[in-house]
């Protein structure tokens, strides 16, 4: 920090303060909350944990947003981003009105249009695509709470292809792996019973930097109750700093550690024998499979002392079954991710934690009926058979595969709807591909609240209002306590922005599909649904949250016979399904590539202040963390000749350079790795705060590893070096 730089800032704030200081401030400022205060229930939309909250206004102006104490997602406490969410409403850079791309000669520009013009344009293009190629050629990418409306509209039209990047770029491998092993996925909110865990193992998972509220709260409760925390991470992360054991593992060798742990549990007979005998299949194959993988072998791969591997295995066994080997959340790392997550699932099975207190509980949601409306017809042909043939086990859309199927003249997809997801940084190193897709696609519609980079590829940009200005579907998640939560508008939509339900309905009407949206206002749908479960919109507008009694048990009863939703009805340690589809039935360790000389493993992660790239421009959160830094170990910094606070650029072996980024020299990282927080380095100048601040990790990923089982993008196999001279 140069003193001089700061002076400029001081001068700026100082100068702006001079004249009013001379003249103003004649009465003391009123105390907060002395004006007319009104409250509105909402559900936070700053991440996907969806905490119920209460928005306060004072004299009609936004004041604050706080957690709803009745909501089990947050217990009355929002996280940093949720608290800052209120500023998303007043962000001056929001999308304000519908835009259509106009081409005049060589120049292109966005022209503001009315909603009706925008709908007419989109409907016309969709009809053309249907006539030329078929009605099933439009893909939906969605990562927002209003996505269901667009899905309905497109299904009614005849296009069923749909992907949420939280599968192929995030949670997909663990959902696949746990599904293959236990017959059920982990879900969101994660079914981890951490508050009661006596031992928690985090593998590359940084709860506390990743602020999923319930995860953070239950992990804290476990720590307060004296649980043993074991963190496996190349970086001394926030949870690592709270851990009894920190295992600074060599990047990419987690499966070796997991196999060694299984080796210890099995060979020292520390696994839950009754549980395995009663519920699991394939134990013999597993026991034989892990024989070569003893801690001494793992030491050579992972760099972790054999004694430490044994000690942590013993700690896990001691606390079992209240031992949670956390499945992680963003787990698309090295392309063998489903197999690594399988190893985690198997380890949990050996410890007997699935279905047990302190391990994984069973989820339940409210049986909420659908509003009576025509159901779009099933397509004659499944689009997945055309597009996702390589991944027969995957039942949802794989976003990167769908992007692949959208480029070139023979591409399957001819139109895109992109709702609330900035594909440019969500998918690794995807810009070039997006540019090609934009050439061959006949229609790209982007619906968002902010001018994210993806809007630059759009033919039509539709401005959605923020979560504080709209109704959305009731929050009804499979979780510990069945709960409904209401999001309702606290403000009228600013500018010419509209809620997702209104946009989808309007477009459907333009397409002659209005019968699929048989209501005038979404309040009707919500009220009807709530009345079916003994509540009403009027009640929810007061309380915001309603919990319902459970109908199913939370844990397995002692000695209970369970039929798992797997082909064998048992927990499948050995997966015949994988064997049948040509994959390893038991997780096999694949050594990762090591960085070339002078390069470092590119590690990325989260910061408490931001949700990926989507909050960087939020004024309150930008102020908290306006840019990311690249963490470098002092030895590496010495070798590179970079110093703390210096701006550098990151460069991958293909020569791709990042935006400039500040160096943070710290002991908190392995000397062979660098780390930066994902989501920065925006290239869209209309995001006036975020533009050009910090570096984007996704653009540097030159070595994306596709998971052969679930098709996701492994993003941790890339390398970078630091280039000086980026003042």
């Amino acid at each position: 920090m140069q003193r001089r730089e700061f002076l400029k800032v001081s001068a700026l704030f100082g100068a702006s303060g001079f004249m009013p200081g001379l003249l103003g401030g004649c009465s003391p400022p009123p105390l907060p909350g002395t004006g007319e205060v009104r409250t509105t229930p909402t559900v936070c939309n700053i991440c996907f944990w969806q905490c119920a909250a209460t928005l306060y206004t004072e004299d009609g102006r936004p004041w604050k947003v706080v957690g709803n104490p009745a909501d089990p997602h947050c217990n009355g406490r929002l996280c940093t981003r949720g608290t800052g969410g209120i500023a998303s409403y007043s962000d001056p850079d929001r999308l304000k009105r519908p835009l259509i791309r106009v081409r005049q000669g060589n120049t292109q520009s966005f022209q503001p249009v009315s909603w009706d013009e925008a709908f007419a344009y989109i409907a016309g293009k969709m009809q053309t695509i249907a006539e030329r190629h078929g009605r099933d050629r439009i893909a939906l990418f969605s990562h927002g709470d209003g996505g269901g409306h667009f899905r309905r509209m497109l299904q009614a039209f005849g296009s069923h292809a749909y992907a949420h990047p939280s599968f192929a770029q995030c949670r997909g491998p663990r959902e696949m792996a746990f599904g293959l092993t236990f017959g059920e996925g982990v879900g969101s909110p994660d079914r981890t019973d951490m508050a009661d865990s006596r031992c928690i193992v985090l593998i590359g998972s940084h709860i506390g930097e990743n602020l999923h509220n319930g995860q953070v709260q239950t992990l804290t409760q476990a720590l307060e109750r004296g649980a043993t925390l074991i963190t496996v991470d190349p970086r001394f992360s926030v949870p690592a700093s709270k851990s009894r054991y920190w295992l600074p593992i060599k990047p990419g060798t987690d499966t070796a550690l997991l196999l060694a742990w299984m080796n210890v549990l099995i060979n020292e007979e520390l696994y839950d024998k009754d549980y395995v005998a009663k519920y699991c299949s394939g134990f013999e194959q597993l026991a034989e499979h892990v024989q070569p993988y003893n801690p001494e072998w793992a030491y050579l791969e992972t760099g972790l002392e054999a004694a430490q591997i044994r000690a942590t295995a013993h700690a896990m066994a001691e606390a079992a079954p209240a031992t949670l080997v956390h499945p992680g959340r963003h787990v698309t790392w090295y392309g063998d991710d489903t197999q690594r997550c399988r190893a985690i699932a198997i380890l949990n099975a050996l410890l007997g934690s699935w279905g047990r207190p302190g391990g994984f509980y069973a989820q339940e949601k409210v049986a909420l009926p659908e509003f009576p409306a025509p159901v779009p017809a099933k397509p004659k042909q499944d689009w997945k058979a055309e597009v996702q043939t390589r991944f027969p086990l995957v039942s949802t859309g794989i976003s990167n595969v769908m992007v692949d199927a959208s480029t070139g003249p023979d591409a399957f997809f001819k139109g895109w709807f992109v709702y609330a997801t900035n594909l440019t940084t969500t998918l690794p190193a995807v810009r070039e591909q997006l540019e090609r897709a934009a050439q061959s696609l006949e229609l790209v519609v982007v619906v968002d609240t902010m001018p994210a980079e993806i809007t630059g590829y759009a033919d039509v940009v539709l401005p959605e209002c923020t979560y504080l200005e709209r109704f959305d579907d009731l929050r009804n998640k499979a979780e510990r306590t069945p709960t409904l939560a209401l999001r309702m508008p606290a403000f009228k939509p600013s500018f010419d922005s509209k809620p997702a339900w209104w946009i989808a309905k309007g477009l459907a009407e333009k397409l002659g599909l209005g019968q699929y949206f048989p209501w005038q206002d979404y309040r009707e749908v919500l009220d009807w649904q709530l009345k079916q479960v003994g509540s009403s919109l009027a009640e929810m507008e007061q309380t915001g949250v309603k919990t319902f009694p459970r109908k199913t048990p939370v844990y397995f009863a002692a000695g209970e016979t369970i039929t798992f939703k797997t082909p064998s009805g048992r927990i499948e340690l050995y997966s015949q399904t994988l064997a049948d589809t040509g994959h390893d039935p038991l997780p096999r360790y694949v050594p990762p590539q090591r960085p070339p000389a002078g390069y470092f493993h590119l590690n990325y992660g989260r910061a408490a202040a931001h949700t990926f790239g989507r909050t960087i421009n939020n004024p309150l959160l930008f102020e908290l963390m306006p840019e990311n830094t690249v963490w470098v170990h002092p030895a590496a910094a010495g070798q590179l000749g970079v110093s703390n606070g210096e701006y550098v650029r990151l460069q991958n072996p293909d020569g791709v350079q990042s935006n400039r980024i500040r160096v943070r020299v710290t002991q908190r990282i392995r000397p062979d790795s660098v780390f930066l927080v994902h989501g920065f380095g925006h290239s869209e100048a209309r995001l006036r705060l975020a533009f050009g601040a910090g570096a984007d990790d996704a653009a540097l990923m030159h070595n994306v590893k596709i998971d052969p089982i679930m098709g996701g993008t492994g993003m941790r196999a890339s390398f970078v070096t630091l280039v000086r001279g980026a003042a």
């Binding site: 920090m1 700061f6 303060g17 840019e627």
Partner: protein, 331 residues
């Protein structure tokens, strides 16, 4: 190894990364306040000691400079206030624990006394001005009274002026949160510097060479004392807390070593010391240079002290983010 960094970007204007709350305005005020104290002392002393023949300038004319100099200082002080309309609040009460409140009230007492001191010397020093005052109602009577009471006035001036001179240092040294200021030597040091700069001003103002000589001799002594006090000040900090050691290191090998020794001590104290010694031994040619350097040194002492105090702090947190980015938040 310890790494202490701010996780959330904190960039409070004029506070981070180090204080910049006070700048030249306060340095000028402290300098001129000390100078005023010196002027008043010399004017009062020359009267009490009956030096009207030997030191006619100090005896008759010097006092008028005090209110002028102080008023300039008060103006810069006012310029520094962030909430200027409320300046009157200094005088709606007295806060006995606050040196600044003491200072505010000392100034209230000093100003009228200073005016009386001026009036008591006006007929001798500035007859034209005196004529003008005599034209105002009660003007002549006022001048008569002041002249009659000039000795008691002078007796009152000396303790108040000394108080003013010391206060300019105590103001800073009472701010114990700034390690560089946290020394009791600062009060006497600023007083002596005030006297020294007033002597220098007298050298410039005096007409008679014998008076110039007198003040050069006085100044020589005062500079010697000032150097001693600076040494004591540095020793005082250097034998103090960890934070004071870090503070004194700034001028003893740290980034402010050159400014302190080369820009202040050398030209502001040592060179005038030598020049004035030459002057007294009859080596001429530097008549005006030495006193100007002393005045420069007096200002530099305040300026560097104000600056260094703000650079020294109890907590030092690393800042990870570029504060320039935060300027984007202002429309």
């Amino acid at each position: 190894m310890v790494e202490e960094v701010l996780v959330t970007a904190r960039f409070n204007a004029k506070v981070d990364p180090s204080l910049t709350i006070w700048s030249w305005e306060i340095a000028v005020y402290l300098f001129l306040g000390g100078l005023t104290a010196g002027i008043m002392c010399f004017a009062a002393w020359s009267l009490l000691a009956g030096k009207e023949k030997q030191l006619p300038f100090a005896h008759d004319r010097f006092a008028l400079w005090a209110p002028i100099v102080l008023s300039v200082g008060m103006t810069t002080l006012f310029l520094d206030l962030e909430h200027k309309l409320y300046v009157f609040r200094f005088y709606t009460g007295f806060q006995p624990a606050s040196p600044m409140s003491w200072g505010a009230w000392i100034l209230v007492l000093v100003y009228p006394l200073m005016v009386l001191q001026v009036l008591s010397t006006l007929r001798r020093g500035y007859p034209a001005l005196a004529d003008w005052i005599e034209k105002i109602a009660f003007g002549a009577g006022l001048l008569d009274s002041c002249e009659r009471w000039r000795r008691p006035i002078a007796w009152w001036v000396i303790p108040l002026a000394v108080g003013l001179g010391i206060y300019t240092g105590v103001l800073l040294s009472a701010l114990s949160a700034r390690p560089f200021w946290n020394s009791g030597v600062l009060g006497p040091l600023f007083l002596v510097s005030g006297l020294s700069t007033a002597s220098a001003l007298a050298i410039i103002g005096a007409g008679k060479s014998s008076e110039k000589h007198f003040f050069a001799r006085t100044d020589l002594t005062l500079i010697g004392v000032e150097l001693m006090l600076i040494a004591l000040f540095l020793i005082n900090l250097g034998t103090g807390t960890e934070q004071q050691l870090a503070a004194v290191h700034m001028v003893m090998g740290g980034t402010y070593t050159v400014p302190f020794w080369v820009w202040f001590v050398l030209p502001g104290l040592l060179i005038p010391l030598v020049l004035e010694a030459f002057e007294l031994r009859g080596i001429r040619g530097f008549a005006m240079i030495a006193p100007l350097l002393v005045l420069y040194g007096g200002f530099m002492l305040r300026y560097l002290t104000v600056e260094l105090g703000q650079l020294s702090r109890w907590t030092e947190y690393g800042i990870q983010f570029d504060p320039q980015l935060l300027m984007r938040l202002t429309p």
